[in-house]
Symmetry: C2
Subunit: 208 residues, 2 copies
């Protein structure tokens, strides 16, 4: 199974690297196809790179590794998304990263779903700093990835990807729970960037 | 140092019990003073109980162990709150506990602060289920309590209380971070009540 990853920034490259390291194939797509091609060349035989629609066409699961603000414009370049699982890893942060631009009655994930009604949006990875996507960055620790969405099959597919790269996938309810998970992501940014812990923390729900 | 606890429900009684078990004095207050008196009698010599203003007058730190919706009316019965540290443990949940009634641009803690401008509101304990307040309920595990507020001294006082009863107090930034911590509390309710984990979970920020 090939996973499409749209975006070659820290999160996109980190996820691609982790998937390839786990023996999974990735199709990288970027607005500038040369960037995706170059990253694919670096990652080796399990990766290919090019334009956004080309990557989307190769996969059932498409990770949007983009800032929230880039979703709408990027989707216009994505071709047919009908039936695709789209993974939203974003937090709709304000420009200073200190707050969220939207919330409470909506979420980035729900706004994305409204843009692509024929696709199945799944929220995941929004509480994981890019540097912790690879096993070496996590020092082998198993971190939790919270998986929210309205389609059980789509969530299972995303959970499988999270598990493949060494995370614990945690069922987090319907997509509307992104209204809570995105503030969890922002609190993670607060701890990592503004409260001195550094981008080496992650939230976990622990059972007594 | 005596801690005032307003409210004799699960959270108020649980906090009072944990404090007394750790050798701390508590002054319990309730709209029905007989309830506070009865709980105090059960807790022994370190506890006293009565009306709300009487409990408030005995302590520098006042825990409002009440639902968010009861804050405004209860404060009218609290007497002089000038300079007091007021601990807001609430999540402003909707009637079905599935969502939050307010958020994003405000929080229960900030609304409370607006009601009592001369007091120092601190957010804490909103991610801890009542059954986990006592050491035996936690099976000895050290859980994290996120402490947010705008006054460093007030946060230190609340952190001291959290530590006294066996929690790790985690500095969580300004009171406005309650906009993120209350959704963390709601996500905790989602996991505990609606996603099958039971009210024996708590969020923690772990460092790699």
């Amino acid at each position: 199974m090939t996973t499409a990853i749209i975006g070659t920034g820290n999160m996109g490259a980190g996820l691609a690297r982790a998937l390839v390291a786990s023996g999974e194939a990735v199709a990288l797509g970027a607005r500038d196809p040369a960037k995706a091609t170059a990253l694919a060349a670096e990652l080796g035989a399990l990766a290919e790179g090019g334009g956004i629609a080309a990557a989307v066409a190769l996969a059932d699961v498409v990770v949007l590794a983009l800032p929230y603000g880039a979703h709408a414009e990027t989707l216009k370049l994505a071709g047919n998304l009908q039936g695709k699982v789209i993974v939203d890893i974003s937090n709709p942060v304000t420009a200073d990263f200190q707050g969220l631009a939207i919330g409470h009655t909506t979420s980035a994930a729900e706004e994305l779903q409204a843009l692509v009604p024929g696709a199945k949006v799944v929220k995941a990875f929004n509480t994981i700093f890019a540097g912790l996507l690879g096993a070496e960055g996590r020092k082998g620790k198993v971190l939790q990835v919270f998986v929210a969405g309205d389609d059980a099959g789509a969530k299972a597919a995303v959970s499988k990807i999270a598990t493949a790269i060494g995370f614990e996938a945690v069922e987090a309810g319907p997509l509307s729970n992104s209204r809570f998970l995105e503030p969890v992501g922002e609190m993670n940014i607060q701890f990592g960037f503004f409260l001195g812990k550094g981008p080496v923390v992650a939230p976990a729900w622990i059972s007594v």
